[in-house]
Symmetry: C3
Subunit: 354 residues, 3 copies
Amino acid sequence: MWIDEVPLIDHHCHAVVAGDLERPDFESHLREGPRGSFDSALGLAVRRWCAPLLDLPAHADPDDYLERRAEIGWREATSRLLGATGTMRWLLDTGFGGSDPTAFAELGGGRVHEIVRLEQVAEQVIAESSSAATLFDDIERALRDRLRTAVGLKSIVAYRCGLDFPLVTTAPKSAPHLENPQLQGWLVGLGARLGAEYNLPLQFHTGFGDPDLHLRHADPLLLTEFLRTTADTGLKVILLHCWPFHRNAAYLAHAFDHVRIDIGLAIPFVGQQSSAILAETLELAPFGSVLYASDGCGLAERHYLGARLWRTGLRKLLDEWLASDAITPADADRLVTALAHRNAEHTYRFPDAA
Amino acid sequence: MWIDEVPLIDHHCHAVVAGDLERPDFESHLREGPRGSFDSALGLAVRRWCAPLLDLPAHADPDDYLERRAEIGWREATSRLLGATGTMRWLLDTGFGGSDPTAFAELGGGRVHEIVRLEQVAEQVIAESSSAATLFDDIERALRDRLRTAVGLKSIVAYRCGLDFPLVTTAPKSAPHLENPQLQGWLVGLGARLGAEYNLPLQFHTGFGDPDLHLRHADPLLLTEFLRTTADTGLKVILLHCWPFHRNAAYLAHAFDHVRIDIGLAIPFVGQQSSAILAETLELAPFGSVLYASDGCGLAERHYLGARLWRTGLRKLLDEWLASDAITPADADRLVTALAHRNAEHTYRFPDAA
Amino acid sequence: MWIDEVPLIDHHCHAVVAGDLERPDFESHLREGPRGSFDSALGLAVRRWCAPLLDLPAHADPDDYLERRAEIGWREATSRLLGATGTMRWLLDTGFGGSDPTAFAELGGGRVHEIVRLEQVAEQVIAESSSAATLFDDIERALRDRLRTAVGLKSIVAYRCGLDFPLVTTAPKSAPHLENPQLQGWLVGLGARLGAEYNLPLQFHTGFGDPDLHLRHADPLLLTEFLRTTADTGLKVILLHCWPFHRNAAYLAHAFDHVRIDIGLAIPFVGQQSSAILAETLELAPFGSVLYASDGCGLAERHYLGARLWRTGLRKLLDEWLASDAITPADADRLVTALAHRNAEHTYRFPDAA
């Protein structure tokens, strides 16, 4: 098996902070909440896995780690960490945490593609638009413009009214505020329509995230009706992150042929449990429906650990399957390739691909 | 321990397709959704475990497997697979996927008993009835007729209005459509009343199933009020399948003395994870409350894997418990017997039993 | 590592039954439901771990166990079991199952502190009060009186209207019944206000419990809005028990800095699965947010197994982390100390502490 070498397509991640960070700033990126700390599964993993990439012994002290990181500079540290992921394509959500694919490509190597965030485009149009009469058309036009070069769409409606957004196809008549659930539902519907038209997958934030989220509203099962209405439209729907609802998400991938899922975001956070979460995901998810993502954000350490712990966890899982004679080495290799990049290649259209 | 030999009572399963199958038809039965495939935990398990029963090497190629299956014929393949389960009693849900216990007995060996599906009987009466005035009485009469030979009842209300159906005891006055949640609730109530009267357990589909289901409406916790109202009536309630809510179901078995649960359906699908799911179920479920089922349907491969992976998973679990000195060999044997058939013998009344 | 010796702070437990017990009475305490039995993970653990403390071989027969327990007497048995937990402080919920900290201290050794149950105080005031006009003030006065010596507050609103209680700050005008959700919400709000004022943590029952509970209403995620409104008040909120929602609870501890969690109650019940549940909890919970508790109640066996299976499970988990080089021995020691007592020392103010 070549789990440690197989090239990855990181189908959902974010940019990094361009600058050296003091310890409180660095630690704030170790948590999707207030006041992060190295005293967590993620913090242990940074010290264990990232320190050697900065020429330190494994398990380096946090202060030593940050001192060394500043010494070589954030740019060099980021380059080493992103390079060590073994990623051949990065799909960058440009709607949060920086938005320059070119700058990311210089740091990370590999090709960088853009994922357009629906809500960010709509907010921009609403902020700039002087005419309520043309606003909905303006949003659609702005999206179409962005989609000429993007490889996918993303919705963070889970952070707004939740994944049980209203299934509406006509624009609301009321004032165009993004706080309006009708507008949010219309926007997702627009994304679904354009995604089907352009053959671009539509990603949804599901599962845990920062405290703006009400986690109950981010259970992917809330998308069931939406998935039914889009099942035959040609749209592909991607459920991002999913934890702690990854079994629910796996069921949706099982029940609906146009659904893909990943467990990015969770993987870098959960340390040694990456194997268990992969196992729970693969209980019911068809092997062709599971993608790789780091959801790395802010710190390249998170991109790197997304890859490192995915490889470590998948290797542990497959070692057990092989030891139990549940799978052949050849099938295990095929599964690794599918999860690492082949499924993504079947899901997205890359402009430079054959 | 005699996990590999202990006879099973498969207290919930379905008939098989009577005919040889082309690959797409066969694969469609490897998924509770559209377009199944061998690229799944279930597909791997078919190749690993079923191929040797058809005289092929383990992990045979899917095409080789299907060619060989056609060569010996579906009837011979089914006989071998059902026979290899080691099942002494099959409780056949005759409301879906074929309805002839005698035909099944010829294929499977062992005794076959019938589980009557409430909704199927009601639908039949509604379709045939000319008098709305007597319809509710007609449904009750038809059920009573069927219960003379059946060993249990089943409800698929989870697929209709969900497990939070209205708790009504009188028949609705409105038109008798099975889409009416009041009628559905009344029908479950009728089943509960007859089950208590005849001492026949009432099974509920809970947890995952095909895409007609809204999984959120199939969480067994939604039955809490129903379980309170039936706790002292003499009725036994059985929660089928349960995944991914098997911990919730285990809690209900812990909280209510008249509840039994199984994790059929999940077991054949989840491959190597059968051990983990058994472990999660046995965290809180009293050992006397857990039954065995395959929920096999359409393909005898699913019946066989229900048994094979249950045995494999339980053995792995008990090996760990024994290695940790958490249980004695004698107690482990007793637990195996209870889960395999003794709990079912205490739950159902079999006409031929002493 | 010193997992077997590290002193514990059991930050939530109850008194024991003062008397020798017949088998049905004893078994009734092995289940949070009707008719408990030794045929459960908890029953196996009693025989495995508690029997040697009563001079019996491990895995003693239940009848032998109870005979020996009666022979030495409940008082001696309780002393041995509580003593063997290695607990230096017990935080006793005096609102249920006995209320005398002094008596408990004589049996258990170590220091005993009181947790005051909001609903119990309110019920007492309502029962004794003759004046509806002053009732809300009377409740507040009674609570303030109790808080002079207590180290924390507790709410069982999960058992009443559920964790999605109304967020009200003014007392309801209607009749003061504890069945009134407005009153329940007001009472929690009062507890939150007093907790912030006195720097006393507010505990919530969450997750599984006895059948009075509707488990769906005990999902800690239902507290999200309450946690947002209390995030900056200085209040510390503690989510007790949490199973099967421990991943949800871990997310809340991750998202909110003022949240602490434990998995007491679950640990003694789940036997060999204590390691898995600890692992799931530590996926996302900051290491500084997880406390130890047994939630022992009625039988000292439950207090002892809370400690024994916590130590066994944590050791298994850390052995795996160490074997995978995911943590250093020094960091593992620090983690053990934090979970065993240091986090509790940072959460509670003990009157006798420096």
